[in-house]
């Protein structure tokens, strides 16, 4: 008993010491910690991305090591990564950021957290897809409306998003989002609201436009947390919903469903994943070399081959999955004024969350 008590007392003493130490010693130890990994171990590049899932992060780290880059990937959702880059702008931790779409990057740029840089492969990409100054396009992704083609024939299927809530047969048969936190959901609304631009309307959108949003939420079946749209299509709960182009083939296989996508007459919104140099990086030269390497035709081609993506780099497209390249060749891109969208998206999300989501 006595021994036990002594032991307990000793343990607590250590705890208390740690308690005091943790508080008072933190300023001292932080100096050591900050200089060691960030500056000391030299050339490790810190890369922020939202595109590290499904083994992409591991693949890239290994490939980069082969090419002589030591990188550390920090994965975060698009909104999280954006907020993190902006919050850290006075003392940046990241050297490079990639994977975020043009909407996110234009926010980061507006906050002054990006350093202009023209990569070596700038001539091989369509400059229209980015700002031509700080962030540069890597991968294209179409944001589509897809429906269960086993249940609905091509003639009977919807032709546009607006059909979902104007035609009775689709009401309650489509999945609608329950939050606007994701990039895909925001792009769907960018595509819908852009059609109703009206500078005298609320937040630059006409009343008619807001009515569409209202109807979208009123008639859709709310998404279920942790249950994929494809799972719900497979079980017959719903027949259609939003989907980014890159995931379709994979999910069709996993859930054993077939999906047909809709190309509205106005076109399809594209999400373009970008790469950029972080302002204030202490490893600028190395970071620039990494951007040059990662966006190059070879690496983008391999990436596309491995992960079924659609590279923006024209020379890389030869290596990409031909089905994917063909799909994008025929695809009509919706003409969206991204500057207008970026300026208003925050307010739109707020209005929709507060007024229209039920």
């Amino acid at each position: 008993m006595r021994k036990l008590q002594t032991l307990a007392a000793a343990a607590v003493a250590v705890t208390l010491l740690a308690g005091c130490g943790g508080g008072s010693a933190s300023p001292a130890s932080s100096d050591g910690a900050s200089s060691a990994p960030a500056g000391g171990s030299g050339e490790t590049l810190v890369v922020y991305t939202n595109s590290n899932g499904e083994g992409r992060g591991d693949w890239l780290t290994a490939k980069a090591a082969e090419a002589g880059f030591k990188i550390e990937i920090v994965g975060a959702g698009g909104a999280d990564a954006t907020n993190k880059l902006i919050a850290e702008k006075n003392n940046p931790i990241a050297d490079v950021a990639f994977g975020l779409n043009n909407m996110y990057f234009s926010q980061i740029k507006a906050a002054g957290a990006l350093e202009p840089y023209e990569p070596a492969w700038a001539g091989d990409v369509d400059k229209e897809l980015a700002d031509g100054e700080t962030y540069w396009p890597l991968v294209k992704q179409a944001i589509l409306l897809g429906y269960n083609s086993e249940k609905i024939s091509k003639d009977a299927g919807p032709r546009d998003w607006t059909d979902l809530w104007t035609k009775d047969e689709f009401k309650a048969r489509y999945e609608r989002v329950t939050g606007l936190g994701t990039a895909t959901a925001q792009l769907v609304f960018a595509g819908i609201l852009s059609r109703y631009r009206d500078d005298s309307g609320d937040l630059g959108i006409s009343d008619e436009g807001w009515k569409q949003v209202e109807q979208y939420f009123r008639n859709g079946s709310p998404a279920v947390a942790k249950t994929d749209l494809f799972a719900r299509i497979a079980s017959g709960e719903v027949d259609m919903g939003q989907m980014p182009s890159s995931i379709i083939a994979d999910r069709e296989k996993s859930f054993n469903v077939n999906v047909e996508t809709v190309i509205p007459s106005v076109g399809v919104p594209l999400a373009v994943e970008q790469i950029a140099l972080v302002k204030g990086t202490k490893k600028k030269e190395q970071a620039q070399k990494f951007i040059d390497w990662f966006g190059s035709a070879d690496v983008q081609g391999e990436f596309a081959q491995k992960f079924n993506s659609m590279p923006v780099n024209k020379k890389a497209q030869a290596k990409a999955n031909p089905d994917v390249v063909d799909f994008f060749a025929d695809l009509k891109q919706q003409d969206i004024d991204w500057e207008f969208v970026q300026e208003n998206m925050g307010a739109w999300v707020e209005k929709i969350e507060l007024e229209y989501m039920t």
Binding site: P37, E54, E88, R251
Partner: protein, 605 residues
């Protein structure tokens, strides 16, 4: 309570040292960063606008969601207490057959929670769930979607959040002096009267503390309403999270968080008031350990046994299914079809053979352990002082220490970044962003309110006469703290440490903003592997990580609590009053004169 004036408090060097450290910590890590982020949020251009309030209160959805959160908080405060007290009594107070097994079943909430728990319940009671299928076969007219909305959320969250009862209320129950119960029996009190008039009143400080926690859990409910709430019962937390992430709407998030925070503080004030003035310890000369009680009425006995085992089934079924489903593929999990033949180890090999391997697990274990130990170690002194000295200074400190309950962790993290991304005199001119320390600070900070509440409650049930006796014998403050108070609150402190540790293991909200890029904790890896948009494997990975975390947290609970529990069962008498025998000779206890003649269990109200 003597010495409650500020002046007498300032005379003790011990108080002054703890006070100085505490003041610095509160100023540097609780007030300054959060003030910074709130100012930036509410005064974006240096002037205040009522925009946020105007927007929020004109939104039907926001008001309804806010109302739902409050409804859930109030309802949970009641239901969790009912279920929690019942399971504590059947495992620790009444003589129930198989109570060890029952304990293990009820303890399953120690090791898991969140979205997977909600999913686990859905596998059983959801529209395609096992129980629902059975019921529909029996009653063909039944609605398969019966388990949704407020009712379902309340049921799931009630059973999911009895952890604090199992740990702290059970612990307080063990401290009850059996002599008082025997005396009541001799006077002819029925088991029901004893329970109502003696046992429950002694548990009050702990019950007040866990009630606040239940209220808070209800207010912050996220995953259960998302999975089971359906269209009609959505809560405010998802909206807060969305708005936190959007820089232009962050004022709305902050306002909502402040509303919930104020409600919590109000609850805290009410509970503190109720707690004040009671005597929650035994004042008999020689106390003895609690013995289990028979339920004498045979009908009541059968009913209690049946209820206990039904609850056992409710608690354990989801865990079993989650473990089973973690071996199934992602599509099967989401469509709810489970066949025993399709269970493989693929999910586990995929998760465990990633490049990052075990490293994130180790990082998280080290961070969580350090943070848990620092929070409990540091607050042991603070909680004691706040419990002992009751004046405006102590009250002010106490409320300040609850700041982390007011703001969502993402805002706390952003506050730390904007406050310490440049040399700051508050921390000796150091830059904290980009270091490994900042995440530790955040982890410690977010655990302060919970730790403080539970520690204070456990100090409240310590008999102050022990301390007075030691003081009369000439014991110094620290000696007294070490030899008398500490051994008495140690079981509770250990349980708090374990819970803190468990809850930090898979933290994402804080870590995403503050983690050092080369020392990334588990939460980030889990997120990368489980996010909805990350493929079919994501959902399967969620289950695998949950099971892996169950293993880690299960081991922790065993190490910390299982052993303490065992120590408590064998030499009970020795444990009940260890300090008396070593610190002060037993006769000194008679210093508590006069009071021991009356029944001690009727606290002054």
């Amino acid at each position: 309570m003597s010495g409650t004036s500020v002046r007498s408090m300032a005379r003790s060097p011990f108080v002054l040292v703890v006070g100085a450290v505490l003041t610095w910590f509160i100023a540097a890590f609780l007030v300054w960063p959060n003030l910074n982020i709130l100012l930036a949020t509410f005064f974006p251009d240096g002037s205040f606008s009522g925009r946020a309030a105007e927007k929020l209160f004109s939104s039907q959805r926001a008001i309804k969601a806010l109302g739902n959160s409050f409804l859930l908080a109030v309802a949970l405060s009641v239901t969790v207490n009912l279920v929690g007290i019942f399971i504590v009594l059947v495992t620790h107070y009444f003589r129930i057959r198989g109570s060890r097994i029952l304990f293990l079943g009820y303890a399953s909430t120690f090791i898991y929670g969140g979205i997977v728990l909600a999913a686990g319940y859905k596998f059983i009671y959801g529209d395609k769930g096992i129980v629902t299928s059975l019921l529909v076969k029996m009653f063909p007219g039944m609605d398969p979607g019966w388990f949704s909305g407020f009712f379902a959320v309340l049921v799931v969250m009630t059973f999911a959040t009895t952890t604090n009862h199992m740990l702290f209320v059970a612990n307080a129950l063990k401290g009850i002096d059996y002599q008082t119960i025997e005396a009541a029996k001799n006077l002819g009190a029925s088991p029901w009267t004893i329970l109502r008039r003696i046992v429950l009143p002694m548990l009050k400080p702990t019950l007040f503390a866990v009630t606040i926690l239940s209220f808070l859990t209800g207010l912050g409910a996220l995953s259960a309403p998302q999975v089971l709430g359906g269209r009609d019962f959505q809560t405010i937390t998802p909206m807060i999270l969305t708005f936190t992430n959007s820089p232009t709407s962050r004022d709305l998030a902050a306002l909502l968080a402040v509303i919930l925070g104020l409600a919590t503080i109000l609850m805290l004030a009410v509970m503190s008031r109720l707690e004040r003035g009671g005597t929650y310890f035994s004042v008999s000369k020689v106390s003895s350990a609690l013995q289990k009680q028979d339920i004498t009425n045979p009908v009541a006995n059968v009913v209690v046994h049946a209820a206990a085992y039904i609850l056992f089934a409710i608690y354990t079924l989801p865990v079993v299914l989650i473990v089973l489903y973690s071996f199934a593929d992602g599509a099967a999990i989401q469509t709810g079809q489970l066949s025993l033949g399709s269970l493989t180890l693929d999910n586990y090999s995929r998760v465990l053979t990633q490049q990052s391997g075990l490293r994130p697990f180790i990082v998280s274990v080290v961070y969580s352990a350090l943070a848990a130990l620092i929070a409990v170690g540091g607050l042991l002194f603070v909680a004691r002082l706040l419990q002992k000295y009751r004046n405006w200074v102590a009250t002010a400190f106490e409320y300040l220490l609850h700041i982390p309950w007011i703001l969502p962790s993402a805002l706390l993290a952003l506050g730390l970044i904007v406050s310490y991304d440049h040399p700051n005199p508050l921390v000796g001119g150091a830059v904290l962003t980009g270091t490994t320390v900042i995440l530790l600070i955040a982890f410690v900070t977010v655990k302060i309110p919970f730790t403080l509440r539970m520690l204070k409650a456990s100090f409240a049930s310590v008999n102050s006469s022990l301390e007075e006796a030691a003081a009369i014998m000439g014991a110094k403050t620290l000696y007294m703290f070490r030899r008398i108070l500490l051994p008495l609150v140690l079981p509770a402190a250990a349980a708090i440490t374990a819970l803190n540790f468990n809850s930090l293991l898979d933290d994402y909200d804080t870590a995403i903003f503050l983690a050092h890029p080369l020392v990334q904790p588990l939460g980030l890896v889990i997120k990368a592997n489980t996010d909805g948009a990350e493929g079919v494997e994501g959902v399967a990975n969620t289950f695998v990580y949950t099971v892996l975390l169950m293993v880690i947290t299960g081991v922790t609970m065993y190490l910390v609590y299982g052993r303490a529990g065992r120590r408590g069962t064998s030499p009970k008498r020795g444990r009940a009053l260890p300090p008396v025998s070593s610190a002060a000779p037993p006769p000194a206890v008679t210093a508590v004169s006069g009071e021991d003649s009356k029944l001690p269990a009727a606290p002054a109200r």
